[in-house]
Amino acid sequence: MPEWLRRFLLIDLIQGMLVTFRTQHPKYINTEQYPEERPRVAERYRGAPRLNINPENGETLCIACDLCAIACPENLIVVGSVRNPETRRKELTTFTYDLSRCMFCGLCEDACPVDALELTQDFELASFTREGQIWDRQMLEEGPRPSPYR
């Protein structure tokens, strides 16, 4: 088709519009309705950290080996432990995780030999203060308790 005829018949415009109108069908809608509908994130999603507890006896799985703290590039994990004089094992006392510096690289969960520390699918991590980003052991074990904004 000669160029002038193409232009006269607005072929390019019609072709372009066809592409546009083909995607008008509701099944092509990709918008996520986030606050109303919570999106499903992937199973391996690296989100909020969690310190797993043994479901049978409620004790922590963490053996306070400090490997996560060593692996962390940002040095944001502090593991506190005392040595139990009877069993001669280290026992976890405190565990602090500074989420404000975390880049969710996953090196800490890779380092954990007992799968105690895990990055979970929870992604709603906002808080009203900087201190709220520093998670202690209780928060890591029980998960965050978001306070709704009114």
Binding site: Q15, V19, T20, A42, E43, R44, R46, F104, G106, L107
Partner: protein, 369 residues
């Protein structure tokens, strides 16, 4: 430098650093004579985070997440380059299965990077629609990344010596499904843009860069290939098993913005071709090389570069035999490509500067590091 700009005949205009079409925080000082650009000066460094200094204070494994944050559009490629460089120092190689998965993810990342470039570049020039379509397809790629490694943008997908994560069930199917649907979407973009008279008028003959100028400035990647040099590190110095795959290196001869657009469109199709071949025959076996618990390369130095979506991405690592790198130098493709802006923009119109900045495909996280 500043006093030469105080000429009454010329108008000095600041473009950026908060200008939407500079794709980040690039500031360009334009020296204008009416609409005509007499000269440009780039002011960069607004996003400088000192990545190379950070590297000296991290272990080899700990530094890997940081490289994702340089070119955050193609984090997977950055990670691959870094892992290959350290593996070179260690004289180790990732197992075949890891290499195949690496190729698939890197090529997906190349498509994602080109899609983001295409959408924003078209948006700069005035075509709003392609942005929504390119982001729709990019979303599919990011979903694959998220399923594979748990992050969409700063993936940290690879580890030194191989992979940390085994592929998930349904990985091959999802990748194949993407490969089946994607070429039709590329046709859609081409319907909207390639023959579009406005698109052609805005791009053809804009931002010319010859092959000699490219080499002189160290420009690599699609910009170099659009100037007629069929040079692609995946072909020239294959890494990670690229020699097993059949693909072509698209080139054009004009060296203008339109040619760069066509080169990148064709690269996306070729990437699909590579992914198809790779996903058909992912070997079984280990995904991690042996002896990668403690990464402590012997004293030495190595420069390893890969073909990132933007061009040659190189890592020059000096090891002093400890677990920390003594020096990590990143050779960012965007940094050297951006330098050629001064020759590309000289003599063009102000409106074309936007098109030229877009066509270089810069990511300021990588320029500034």
């Amino acid at each position: 430098m500043a006093d030469t700009f105080l000429d009454a005949q010329e108008l000095v205009l600041n473009m950026g650093p908060q200008h939407p079409s500079t794709h980040g925080v690039l500031r360009v000082i334009l020296k204008l004579d009416g609409e005509k650009v007499l000269g440009t000066e780039c002011v960069i460094g607004y996003l400088h985070r000192g990545v190379e200094k950070i590297a000296e204070h991290r272990t080899y494994a700990q530094f890997a997440p940081y490289v994702d944050r340089m070119d955050y559009i193609s984090a997977v490629s950055n990670g691959l380059g870094y892992c290959l460089a350290v593996e070179k120092l260690l004289n180790a190689e990732a197992p075949p299965r890891a290499r195949a998965v690496r190729v698939i993810l890197t090529e997906l990342n190349r498509i994602a990077s080109h899609l983001l470039w295409l959408g924003t570049h078209a948006l700069d020039i005035g075509a709003i629609t392609p942005l929504f379509y390119t982001f729709r397809e990019r979303e599919e790629i990011l979903a694959i990344f998220e399923n594979y490694c748990g992050a969409r943008l700063t993936t940290h997908a690879f580890r030194i010596g191989g992979l940390q994560y085994e592929t998930y069930s349904g990985f091959e199917e999802q990748v194949k499904r993407f490969c089946d649907t994607f070429p039709a979407h590329v046709d859609e973009y081409e319907t909207l843009l390639t023959g579009n008279p406005i698109w052609r008028d805005r791009l053809i003959g804009v931002g010319l860069l010859t092959a000699e100028q490219c080499k002189d400035y160290g420009v690599t990647g699609p910009v170099l290939r659009a100037a007629g040099v069929a040079w692609d590190l995946r072909k020239a110095q294959p890494y990670s098993g690229y020699e097993q795959y059949e693909f072509e290196v698209p080139t054009r001869s004009g060296g203008d913005t339109y040619d760069r657009y066509l080169v990148r469109i064709e690269e996306m199709r070729q990437s699909v071709r590579i992914i198809r071949q790779a996903v058909e025959r992912i070997p079984e076996g280990a995904i991690m090389a042996k002896g990668m618990k403690v990464i402590k390369p012997p004293v030495g130095e190595a420069y390893v570069s890969i073909e990132a979506p933007k061009g040659e991405l190189g890592y020059f690592i000096v090891s002093d035999g400890s677990i920390h790198p003594y020096r990590v130098r990143v050779r960012p493709p965007s940094f050297l490509n951006l330098q050629a802006l001064e020759v590309m923009a000289k003599g063009s119109l102000v409106a074309d500067v936007v098109a030229i900045i877009g066509t270089i495909d810069i990511v300021l996280g990588e320029v500034d590091r």
